[in-house]
C-alpha cells in the first residue's frame, strides 16, 4: 500500500481512513506493507506499536509531504528546515517525483500480490510499481482536485497525476457515489471500473460524557471540525453563527482546525460583531478533539464538496447530533442526521436553532446516531476491498 499519512502523523481524514482500513484488513489476514513519505526516523517502531497488529509493516521514505499542502506551504516548510541535509526536493512536485522513485525501489525489494494506493501523490508510485512488478493496481480515491479546489483553479499537474493513476489502474476505489460521479464526470473513467467503498469509523469504548465543562454553564456549543479551507465551507459556518445568535443568544461556536482561510475567518467573525462568540482552537490532537466533541450540542459539517467526511461519524460516536452538507459522501450512509445544502445558510440556521431549542430532537438524534454509528465499522469496507483484491488476482491468473 502506498499512502501519505497515518496516525499520529496525520492532519486529516485520509490518515484516519488508511489506519482503520489497514487495521481491519490485516485482522482479516491480509499482509500489508504500508509505504509512507516520512520525515521521522522513529516512525517505524511507533507505528508498529500503534497498530499492534501482525502483518502490517510500515516503511518510510524521508519526505516533507503532507496531503493537503500547497506549493507555497511546501516552500515555507522547506525553508524552515534549511538546516537539515538536502535530501528533500525543491518543490512539492519534485517531492512527489522523489517519492515515486523511492517507492519504485521498494517495489523491487518487496514481494507482494497487488498494489493499493491512496490519493494522487502516490499514484505515480503505484504506476511505477505496477510496471516493475506486473502486479495489478487499485487506486483509492479519497478526494479529487475538484473537491479540494471547489472546481476553481484546478491544478493541471495534480489533475493529470490523478487521471493517469485512474487510467493505469485495474480498478478505481471511490469513497462514495458522490466521488464516483466526479470521477466519471471529470476524469472520463468508465463507471464499471469504479467500486464504491464507503469509509467507516472506529468505535471508542466510552462515548457517554461525565466531563463537566465550564463553557457549558452558560452556553450551548456548536462545533466545526476540519481544515479551514474553501472545501470545508467555514464561511457558511460563520454566517450561520451570526444568524443563529439573533435567535439564540447563549451559544458559542467552536472551530477546530487550521488552514489558509483561518485568518480570514477570524476577521470575518470580528467584522460580523460575533468575535466573542466564535472560538478558534487551531489543530487539536486526538484526546482534545474527543473532549471538544463531547462538549458540543450540535456538530456541523458545511463542506462545499466532501468526498466522504469521517468527522460526522466521530461526532455521532460521541453522541453529538450532526448537521451535514448534502454535498458529501457520508450523507449516503448515515440516516440519523440532519441534511442541508452547504450554500443554504438560512436552512442551516433553522436546523441549528431547532436542535438547540427542541431538546427532543437532539436527544433522539443522539440515541439513534449512537446506535447507527456502531454498525458502521471497518469490517464492511475491508470485506469489500478483499473482494476487489480477489477479483484482481483472479484476473491475473
Amino acid at each position: 500500500m502506498f499512502g501519505w499519512e497515518f496516525p499520529p502523523f496525520s492532519s486529516g481524514g485520509l490518515g484516519t481512513a488508511c489506519y482503520g482500513l489497514t487495521k481491519s484488513l490485516s485482522k482479516k489476514g491480509v499482509d500489508i506493507t504500508f509505504v509512507l513519505p516520512s520525515a521521522d526516523d522513529t516512525l517505524k517502531s511507533d507505528f508498529l506499536r500503534l497498530i499492534s497488529t501482525k502483518g502490517v509493516r510500515i516503511r518510510g521514505i524521508r519526505s516533507l509531504l503532507t496531503p493537503y499542502m500547497s506549493v507555497r506551504d511546501y516552500r515555507n516548510l522547506r525553508r524552515a528546515r534549511s538546516g537539515a541535509p538536502n535530501i528533500y526536493g525543491a518543490t512539492l512536485f519534485d517531492e512527489v517525483y522523489r517519492y515515486t522513485e523511492a517507492a519504485a525501489d521498494i517495489a523491487k525489494q518487496e514481494t507482494f500480490d497487488l498494489i493499493h494506493c491512496h490519493d494522487w501523490m502516490t499514484f505515480g508510485a503505484g504506476i511505477k510499481a505496477k510496471k516493475i512488478s506486473g502486479k495489478p493496481l487499485a487506486v483509492h480515491v479519497h478526494a479529487t482536485e475538484f473537491d479540494r479546489t471547489g472546481g476553481n483553479n484546478v491544478n493541471e499537474y495534480v489533475y493529470r497525476l490523478e487521471r493517469n493513476g485512474m487510467e493505469a489502474a485495474d480498478v478505481v476505489i471511490a469513497v462514495s457515489n458522490f466521488t464516483k460521479n466526479k470521477i466519471v464526470q471529470h476524469y472520463g473513467i468508465n463507471p464499471e471500473k469504479i467500486v464504491v467503498v464507503h469509509n467507516a469509523v472506529e468505535i471508542t469504548d466510552d462515548a457517554s460524557s461525565i466531563d463537566q465543562f465550564v463553557i457549558k454553564k452558560h452556553d450551548r456549543v456548536v462545533l466545526f471540525v476540519g481544515r479551514i479551507t474553501l472545501q470545508k465551507g467555514p464561511d457558511y459556518f460563520i454566517y450561520a453563527a451570526k444568524k443563529v445568535l439573533e435567535h439564540e443568544p447563549n451559544v458559542k461556536f467552536i472551530m477546530v482546525g487550521t488552514g489558509d482561510m483561518e485568518m480570514r475567518m477570524i476577521e470575518k467573525a470580528a467584522e460580523l460583531g460575533i468575535a466573542d462568540r466564535v472560538l478558534f482552537t487551531g489543530f487539536l490532537g486526538h484526546n482534545d478533539l474527543e473532549k471538544v466533541y463531547r462538549m458540543a450540542d450540535v456538530y456541523v459539517m458545511p463542506s462545499v464538496s466532501e468526498p466522504f467526511g469521517i468527522t460526522p461519524l466521530e461526532a455521532m460516536r460521541n453522541g453529538v447530533p450532526t448537521i451535514i452538507s448534502k454535498q458529501s459522501g457520508v450523507s449516503e450512509v448515515i440516516k440519523n442526521c440532519l441534511l442541508v445544502d452547504f450554500w443554504d445558510i438560512n436552512e442551516l440556521t433553522n436546523k441549528i436553532v431547532a436542535v438547540l431549542r427542541y431538546r427532543t430532537l437532539g436527544d433522539l438524534l443522539k440515541e439513534d446516531a449512537l446506535r447507527e454509528v456502531k454498525k458502521i465499522t471497518w469490517d464492511k469496507p475491508a470485506d469489500k476491498c478483499i473482494s476487489v483484491y480477489n477479483k484482481l488476482l483472479k484476473g491475473v491468473q
Binding site: H247, K335, N336, L338, L339, N346, E347, T349, N350, K351, V353, A354, R357, Y358, T360, L361, D363, L364, L365, D368, E372
Partner: protein
C-alpha cells in the same frame, strides 16, 4: 355462502410547507397549497376518476349485485370542492346508485381519540354533517383513522349510535379465530365489529404488482378461487384498502383496472357468493363471539400498532404539544386558528416524522414530502410556536 365486503379509504392530507424559524410570528400560512393541489389533481387523474368510472360501470352492469363502501375524510372532501369538483360529482353519482355506502370517520383524519375524547367527538360530528351536506347520506358505520381501534373506542362509538365499526384483523388479536365472521366488541351491547382480512386485502393493495411474489401475476380468477376457498369456514370477506391502490400505488400498466373490472364477475360465478356493504353485513350476520381488544391496534405496517405515528420521541412530543393547546385554541373562538390547529392534527403529519422505516424499508419514504423525518418535526414545532404566538395575541 361468502359475502365480499369492499371498503375503500379516500384521503389526502394538507401537506405542511417547510416552515423555518424565521417565519415564527411573521407568517401564519402553514400549508403547501401548490403541492396539495398538484397531488390531488394527479391522483384524481390516475385513480379517483378512472376507478369511480369502473365501479359505477360494475354497479350498473350487475344491477347492483356488485356494491362497495367508502370512507372519505373531511379533509379530502374540502380539497375536492376546491380543486376537483368533478371528482366530487363522480362520488355523488356512485352514492346516488343506492349501492354505495359511506362510513363516518374523524373529519381531520386525526389521532384525536387517543388525546382528547372531546375533540374526537366534535370531529366525528363535523364529518357526519359534511357527508350529510354533500351526499345527503347518514352513515351508520364508523371507521377510525388508519383503523386505530380498541374496546374503549367501540364502546364510545356505540354510544354515538353507530351499529358497526371496522378494525384490522391482526393475527396477534385474533389468534386461532378467523376474521371472516362478525364479532362483538367486549364492553358493548349491540355494536358489531367487522375485521379486515388482511391477507386477501394486502394481496391486492400491496402485492398485486410485486414481481418477486410467488403468486405474481394476480388474476381475477385466481383471487376468486381464494375467496371461494373460504366457503365453509367463514361468511364474510372484508377487503379493506386505500382507494389509491387503484392506479396510484398499483399502476394501470400492471393491469390493476382490468383486475378490478373482472373480479366481481369471477366472484359471482360461484352461486353462493355475493357482495355486501358493512351495514348489510351487520344486519345479516350475527356476532359469533366477543373480542377483547385492550391495546390500540391499527392497519399500519407489520406491527399493526401506533408506532407509525407515535413510535418515537419526536412524534410523541409533537402530539403532546399540539393537543395541550386545545383549551386555548377553543377559547380563542377564532375560526382560522381552530381550523389550522385541527389541520395540524392530520395523522400524516406524525407519519412523516416516523423513523422506523430506516430499518423497515421505504414504504413511508414514498409518501413523505420532507427529506427526513426530523425535517418534518422541525417544521411542525416551528408552526406550533407560531400558533402559540397567535393565541397570545
Amino acid at each position: 355462502m361468502v359475502s365480499v365486503c369492499f371498503y375503500f379509504q379516500v384521503h389526502q392530507p394538507y401537506r405542511l410547507r417547510k416552515y423555518p424559524i424565521f417565519d415564527i410570528g411573521r407568517n401564519h400560512n402553514y400549508f403547501d397549497d401548490k403541492k396539495n393541489e398538484e397531488v390531488l389533481k394527479k391522483v384524481a387523474t390516475k385513480c379517483y376518476l378512472p376507478t369511480n368510472r369502473t365501479i359505477l360501470d360494475l354497479i350498473e352492469k350487475t344491477d347492483g349485485r356488485f356494491r362497495a363502501s367508502y370512507s372519505l375524510s373531511g379533509i379530502v372532501l374540502e380539497q375536492f370542492e376546491k380543486y376537483c369538483p368533478d371528482v366530487l360529482e363522480s362520488f355523488r353519482q356512485l352514492v346516488d346508485t343506492g349501492y354505495v355506502e359511506l362510513l363516518d370517520e374523524t373529519y381531520y383524519h386525526s389521532l384525536s381519540f387517543i388525546y382528547s375524547k372531546k375533540e374526537f367527538k366534535e370531529q366525528v360530528k363535523l364529518h357526519n354533517e359534511k357527508i350529510k351536506e354533500i351526499f345527503n347520506f347518514t352513515p351508520r358505520i364508523f371507521r377510525n383513522t388508519e383503523l386505530i381501534y380498541n374496546n374503549e373506542l367501540a364502546n364510545f362509538i356505540e354510544k354515538l349510535g353507530y351499529s358497526g365499526i371496522l378494525a384490522e384483523g391482526a393475527d396477534y388479536i385474533l389468534g386461532w379465530r378467523s376474521p371472516n365472521f362478525v364479532y362483538k366488541p367486549k364492553t358493548t351491547e349491540k355494536i358489531s365489529l367487522l375485521l379486515k382480512n388482511y391477507r386477501l386485502s394486502d394481496d391486492i393493495a400491496f402485492r398485486f404488482g410485486e414481481k418477486s411474489w410467488a403468486e405474481y401475476p394476480l388474476t381475477a380468477p385466481k383471487f376468486a378461487q381464494w375467496v371461494n376457498a373460504i366457503n365453509g369456514n367463514g361468511v364474510l370477506v372484508n377487503l379493506f384498502m386505500d382507494y389509491e391502490t387503484f392506479g396510484e400505488h398499483q399502476w394501470e400498466d400492471k393491469g390493476i383496472f382490468k383486475f378490478l373490472e373482472h373480479l366481481p364477475w369471477e366472484i359471482m360465478k360461484h352461486p353462493d357468493n355475493d357482495f355486501i356493504t358493512p351495514s348489510e353485513a351487520v344486519e345479516r350476520y350475527k356476532p359469533v363471539a366477543e373480542l377483547d381488544i385492550h391495546q390500540l391496534i391499527s392497519w399500519a405496517d407489520i406491527e399493526r400498532d401506533l408506532s407509525a405515528w407515535l413510535g418515537n420521541k419526536m412524534q410523541q412530543e409533537a402530539a403532546r404539544e399540539l393537543y395541550s393547546l386545545e383549551n386555548a385554541v377553543k377559547k380563542s373562538r377564532n375560526q382560522e386558528i381552530i381550523d389550522d390547529w385541527r389541520k395540524l392534527q392530520i395523522s400524516d403529519n406524525f407519519y412523516y416524522m416516523c423513523t422506523k422505516w430506516f430499518a423497515d424499508g421505504d414504504v413511508h419514504k414514498y409518501f413523505n414530502p420532507f427529506d427526513r423525518p426530523h425535517d418534518a418535526f422541525i417544521s411542525f414545532m416551528n408552526i406550533i410556536n407560531d400558533l402559540k404566538i397567535r393565541l397570545k395575541e
